[in-house]
Symmetry: C2
């Protein structure tokens, strides 16, 4: 019979939803997919706790508090790692691969830190390593990028991959509440932790950004490569000004592949012979390698102004979406539930059935989620100061003659050109809302620094990037 | 070396985009995917025409007008069928499978007519049959349904899969033009054929609906099973009334799996012992088989009122989207370019690389696009008269006392309850706009028939279904 034995490590929200489906839905899965998956054991921290009535349909003897023993069990075919974090998940996955087991993991943090190593190890051992559930919950974006779009030259993969922050920003936009009220509502609804930092400071999104960029551009991108900015500084008034200007503020992950089109980085390189002495034109810019040998990428998380007409703008509440732009496929968006035990378990189940079917067919993995035919090149991550986009800048100034001229001068001196300016409020203070044309981030930083030094500028309150066209086309 | 030889049948928009990518992008594809795909030949109707300058990068000797010779060539590994239609595409694919070649096809019509046969034949022969490009162009919905969601119990798969009609309806909604003006604009832009019937009468969408339903519910659904209604009767005024009521009119494919939750069809069955004498309660209703043995599905194409808050409502212009609802994955939407040579070729390329990689790895197909471990059951297609949804009905009546009561009486007598009614226009004629609660389609038909018989009803102009919650949850 087509029986596959799987070890499940971790039995929290996702794990218990998976176990429930494997047991209660067992016959359905056999009927639909032709594979018969049997649970070899479930590793938990506290066996006694899990043997209570809550999991009445589970044979209590399946629980163990020794995950290593389970991983070492030679009758196990597939290890499903749902513990999260790096230790002991990292050692457990290493051990599973060493002992020839296929691995399914939902561990975004570990994959963002060690994904490339793990993929190489799995490829060498001839086992599958699948991790659909590590990014965007139930949305099958990993398989889409790795398989359907394997031959596609992708330019930019961006998206909303953290449901908590999208809920908070949606509430601020739709109900006019401020950040703290919206966060409290999310906490009441169980959408945000009592310590919300992983979500609101962008750590969760950053891990997913690293994974997405690695798959999209076939390179090694790590959590530490991700430039990260959270939503704690987004003010209710910026949300309202954004709406008036035709934008919605979203916490985005934005990963982009640099081709030859970004003059500050790669064209200078391309025009120099590789062996010529390298004279860096701006001393602060690290020398980028030639784009043809090492993928040059930018990988960032930041709150951005998204035009209301863009498909990402309509992603509301706790939903997630990933927006893919490629040379031939054009624009593709995937939308769905990004979190929750049951939807995330659905993604784990898809991987588990795939790994099981391949194991039954005796397949060597031919295309793991990142192709591992040769060592995946370490990405060159472009410094944020070199990247270009349009900016929203909102400042309070003294309402006196000559202020606008002085402010405009600072923009112009730093090579930043202004697309629109609007003054709101009157009296001794006025608020100026600027949207710039695309500008180098380093130039924006200098502009802001000089503006802070102008006596007439009281306060620079809102500074947000505008999500625009992909720069690489 | 990892060389795979492919025969390309057809060199129109999609074929020439594919050939161009295979030749011009050859080294890129090798680098990205590790497979080296070589063109064994390109079958076209008129060899001379294709040898002109337009395809200057193609070795002219690759063209042939004998597709069967190409398919019979024993050096060919994969046949890519881009001819369309049933003859000779059908015979060519049969022959390719018989001679052990993997097949990639974008032929929606053939797959909607013979998909289940072809899948069985390919499974028996141990070759791949992949057809991502047959549904929704560049959007990888086929692989998502077949692989990522293999273990998922899906309830409903619906969507906008015809870009021409979506462009026409978007123009009617956004620019206020009527159907004929919008169609002419689409024709001017090359988005509609001079004979637009395949698009506007819903034939194209119907083929895609049959394919989607077959994959989603793992059963044999054929083009003839699809209840089809086009957009030619959608009037500018209905588009405007829809907007006022909070809806956008879209041509939808709606495929649904019936569980035990539809009283008119399956619960009656479930409550009867299988061997009991079957007394059909309504003589016009064919006896449905038990849902547990044969999948009971509905598969339809119709213009529908979609609530503006629904993700499908925001799909504008020639874009496509597929909206998937499942037990555990929740709601997933895929959005992208549904047509065009280059995006469609991108989907073909994804399949071609996949088939090539599997062939190089010596894999027997373990999960073709429809699992073929056992014969796929023929679906029982629920008669439309048995299906339930809410309706929009717009009628002109004589503005005289008692008319509304008479009309309301007809609704009530037929078991149709009214959710909202609005009167527009005054004077000797008035227009009544009804939205009903969910009602059996057979009851709506009877209601309309009786309303036509009422002297006070001058004309029933707009009749549209309202896209609602999935009925199977």
């Amino acid at each position: 019979m087509n029986k596959i034995r799987c070890a499940i490590l971790g039995c929290g929200n996702v794990g218990s939803a998976l176990v429930s489906q494997l047991i209660v839905g067992h016959d359905d899965i056999v009927k639909r997919t032709g594979v018969d998956i049997e649970i070899a054991g479930i590793a938990v921290r506290d066996v006694a706790k899990h043997r209570d009535a809550k999991h009445g349909y589970i044979d209590g003897s399946l629980f163990t508090d020794d995950p290593f023993a389970l991983v070492n069990d030679s009758s196990v075919d597939i290890v499903v790692e749902l513990i999260g974090g790096t230790d002991p998940a990292s050692q457990l996955i290493d051990r599973a691969i060493e002992t020839g087991k296929s691995v399914v993991s939902a561990n975004k943090e570990l994959l963002a830190r060690r994904g490339s190593d793990l993929v190489s190890a799995a490829a060498s051992a001839g086992v599958e390593l699948l991790y659909e559930a590590a990014v965007a919950g139930a949305i099958p974006v990993v398989r889409l990028l790795a398989e359907s779009l394997a031959a596609e030259q992708l330019y930019r993969v961006s998206g909303i991959v953290n449901g908590t922050t999208n809920f908070v920003l949606s509430a601020m936009s739709e109900e006019g509440v401020d950040y703290h009220e919206a966060l409290e509502e999310a906490q009441r609804l169980g959408l945000a932790e009592s310590n919300p930092s992983a979500d609101v400071d962008g750590y969760d999104a950053a891990a997913k950004a690293a994974i997405l960029a690695g798959i999209a551009y076939r390179c090694d991108v790590r959590l530490d490569d991700v430039a990260r900015e959270g939503i704690t500084r987004v003010r209710a008034e910026d949300v309202q000004y954004a709406r008036q200007l035709g934008y919605i503020i979203k916490l985005l992950v934005v990963t982009e592949l640099n081709q030859k089109s970004r003059p500050n980085v790669s064209e200078n390189q391309a025009s120099q012979a590789p062996t010529a002495p390298q004279v860096s034109q701006a001393p602060t810019v690290p020398q980028a390698p030639a784009a043809s040998t090492v993928p040059q990428v930018s990988v960032r998380v930041y709150p951005a102004m998204v035009p209301v007409s863009h498909p990402l703008a309509s992603v509301r509440g706790a939903h997630n979406a990933v927006f893919i732009e490629g040379e031939r496929c054009g624009e593709i968006m995937l939308y769905g539930q990004g979190a929750g035990g049951v939807p995330t378990a659905s993604a784990v189940m898809g991987d588990l059935v795939d790994a099981a079917a391949k194991r039954l067919a005796g397949h060597q993995p031919y295309a793991s989620m990142v192709p591992a035919r040769e060592p995946v090149p370490r990405a060159y991550v472009i410094p944020p100061s070199e990247l270009r986009c349009a900016w929203y800048i909102n400042m309070d100034v003294r309402d006196q003659p000559g202020v606008l001229a002085a402010v405009a001068h600072v923009f112009g001196d730093n090579g930043v050109s202004i697309r629109s300016m609007e003054q709101v409020g009157m009296g001794s203070e006025a608020r100026l809302i600027f949207v710039t044309h695309e500008a180098r981030e380093g130039d924006i930083d200098k502009t802001l620094e000089e503006l802070h030094g102008l006596g007439a500028v009281e306060n620079i309150g809102g500074i947000l990037r505008v999500f625009g066209e992909s720069k690489t086309r």
